[in-house]
């Protein structure tokens, strides 16, 4: 079940200023999210280098691909035995091609699905503002950086003050 957003958000023209605000708020124990037109290592560092769980999905499905890639041809070889001279019925070196290809196929497709699935799940856990002003703001895909802080109404003044000290262009509250 998705949570409702309560907090403050601001927009910034400079990445270093946005990163300073994020780092300060994170060290204060606030729940902070960032928006930016492209990934920036400054912002990732300010967020404390969070880690994605995506590699576990990739590993699981890649391993399934290897299992299926060796298993399926082996099963069909046993199902309809076709002896060819003295070659082994289950030809493991030949089936390595299928093990590799299906590892890449299942691992790759599950990774792509995982990217968007995990992103949306994180957005349910850490909701974004729902106001028309936020949803209609299109500059995060152009050249502006956004800082979203989920906090109680009592902390809003301090957060807003910090944002304005660091060149925030727009600051809005939603409670």
């Amino acid at each position: 079940m998705s949570k409702t957003f309560n907090g403050v958000w601001g927009t910034f023209p400079y990445v270093d200023e946005a990163a300073t605000v994020v780092e300060t708020l994170r060290k204060q124990g606030k729940d902070v999210s960032v928006l930016s037109p492209c990934p920036r290592h400054e912002l990732m560092a300010a967020l404390g280098h969070p880690q994605s769980k995506l590699p576990f999905i990739t590993l699981f499905f890649g391993a399934c691909g290897i299992f299926f890639g060796y298993g399926y041809p082996s099963w069909t070889a046993m199902d309809w035995v076709l002896p060819v001279s003295q070659k082994p019925i289950v030809g493991i070196p030949s089936f390595t091609i299928f093990g590799f290809e299906l590892m890449v196929l299942l691992g790759g497709v599950s990774t792509a699905i995982g990217i968007f699935l995990l992103g949306h799940l994180d957005l349910l856990r850490k909701p974004m503002p729902r106001s028309e002003q936020f949803r209609g703001y299109t500059k995060f895909s152009v050249d502006r950086f956004g800082v979203v802080v989920r906090c109680p109404a009592g902390d809003a003044d301090a957060v807003e003050r910090l944002m304005r000290q660091h060149s925030a262009e727009e600051v809005a509250r939603e409670f």
């Binding site: 400079y14 270093d16 400054e42 995506l54 299928f98 995982g114 990217i115 992103g119 949306h120 957005l123």
Partner: protein
């Protein structure tokens, strides 16, 4: 590196999607007409039968398999640029990788058609898939032809996946600019992308993982295609050099096709600030490097044939340049200079001699010269595939079994149609999607910093 601002990148790249000039529509009509010729030729072939082509015993693999290998090779440069150069952090890849990746997807789509057309009865294509059937018969998993089915279909799926994942942030940027029906379309395609770090975090990790998968895939696909030949016993095919030889040729031809596409693209859309001469030069250097590998492979093939002491191997490598085996006065006996010999010398000239001017900086820095060299390489690589596929089948172990091959008119039509299909898709892509990766180009720029702004 471009000095443009983030907003300027959006403006420059997304403005390429506005209403195009009349020249665009003229090109589109030309490509659609070529594609139409291919469809007509295919329809005639299906109606009359495969006998209409030049394929007959002993040359069972002709222009269709040549086209298949050629187009698969063309696809390799896209994955090389988007995955391998991503992992090696080559800074010049960002402006060209989107176009190269689109090229890969369309080239592999084109390539995938040819084995199906080659079978003659295209409506039985599903027999290639290992599904449980009425007689409980299975496909032969030990056959290189089935390895190909899996390799090419995996390559196509992963290329499309990689391409679409890379597009999502840019589709969101287009959604934010669009109105009406276009906004609805881009909103659906960008699947809720909002530029938050909840999404960027998984995106960056996922992109890295996809690149890590695509890197061995790009080398494996053409190796597996080469094993279609190398696993057989035919002289000229049965050699261990084939896998690296094919991969080097694929990268060589693919990068040439990227240049063929990107040079007009930057002129038409005025993208000189992003696709700079430095980017073209970097690609030219890789082309030069792979040209040397390909030239070396040509030489090694001859050396292996000589050193093996195998008369059949020696025979085919005499036949390729000089014609009839056993005739020690080449060019004299009737019929010695056939299509196979023309293919051989065209291949050597276009792939070994034509790239030599790239040693000079002035040539690498000249977009027009690069464009013409890239066209010559594309021609040369098609003839290389033809030389490998066809000439070996013309002269096998038993002279009684020798034959000649002349492509039929439908094969010509379908080949022209494949180029029409490829370029039609690409030109439609430039109209519907950004040809440069907006988010990645921004990543390669200096970010907006307050202290830098104050300094100015």
């Amino acid at each position: 590196m471009s000095t443009a601002s983030y907003a300027q990148v959006n403006e420059d790249v997304l403005s390429t999607l506005v209403r195009p000039r009349p020249a665009y529509f003229l090109l589109l009509i030309g490509f659609v007409a070529a594609f139409g010729l291919g469809i007509l030729s295919l329809a005639i072939q299906i109606d009359v039968g495969l006998g209409l082509s030049g394929i007959n015993h002993p040359i069972g693999w002709g222009v269709y398999i040549t086209n298949f290998v050629f187009w698969i090779g063309i696809g390799h440069a896209g994955t090389l640029i988007s995955a391998v150069f991503f992992l090696t952090r080559a800074p010049w890849r960002a402006p060209v990788y989107r176009a190269a990746e689109a090229m890969t997807v369309f080239a592999v789509m084109t390539a995938g058609l040819f084995p199906l057309l080659h079978t003659g009865r295209v409506w039985y294509t599903y027999w290639l898939i290992p599904y449980p059937n009425q007689r409980m018969l299975w496909v032969n998993f030990k056959s290189p032809l089935l390895w190909d089915v899996f390799a090419v279909s995996t390559y196509l799926t992963i290329s499309v996946t990689f391409f679409m994942v890379g597009l999502v942030p840019d589709l969101a940027a287009m959604r934010d600019r669009a109105t009406g029906l276009r906004k609805l379309m881009y909103s659906s395609l960008s699947i809720g992308w909002n530029n938050s770090y909840q999404q960027w975090l998984h995106y960056m990790r996922g992109y890295l993982l996809l690149a890590a998968f695509a890197t061995p895939l790009v080398f494996s696909v053409h190796s597996i295609v080469s094993w279609d030949f190398a696993m057989s016993l035919i002289p000229g095919w049965h050699t261990t050099i084939f896998a690296p030889y094919f991969v080097a040729g694929a990268i060589f031809s693919g990068l040439a096709m990227v240049l063929t596409i990107v040079i007009p693209l930057r002129t038409v859309f005025n993208l000189h600030h992003y696709i700079t001469n430095h980017v073209l030069q970097s690609m030219a250097r890789v082309i030069l490097f792979t040209s040397i590998i390909v030239g070396y492979a040509y030489g090694v093939e001859f050396f292996i044939a000589y050193y093996s002491g195998n008369p059949f191997e020696r025979g085919i490598f005499y036949f390729r340049p000089f014609g009839e085996i056993g005739d020690m006065s080449p060019f004299k006996a009737q019929g010695t200079i056939g299509f196979a010999q023309i293919a051989f010398f065209t291949m050597v000239f276009c792939n070994v001699v034509a790239p030599l001017p790239l040693w000079r900086w002035k040539i690498r820095n000249n977009a027009i010269a690069l464009f013409f060299i890239s066209i010559l390489i594309n021609i040369g690589m098609w003839f290389e595939r033809f030389n490998i596929v066809v000439s070996s089948l013309q002269r096998d172990f038993i002279p009684f079994n020798w034959g000649t091959y002349t492509p039929g008119i439908v094969e010509f039509g379908i080949t022209v149609g494949s180029f029409g299909f490829f370029f039609t898709l690409f030109i439609l892509f430039t109209r519907a999607m950004p040809s440069l990766a907006v988010a990645e180009v921004k990543e390669s720029l200096a970010p907006p910093l307050k202290h830098a702004a104050e300094h100015h």
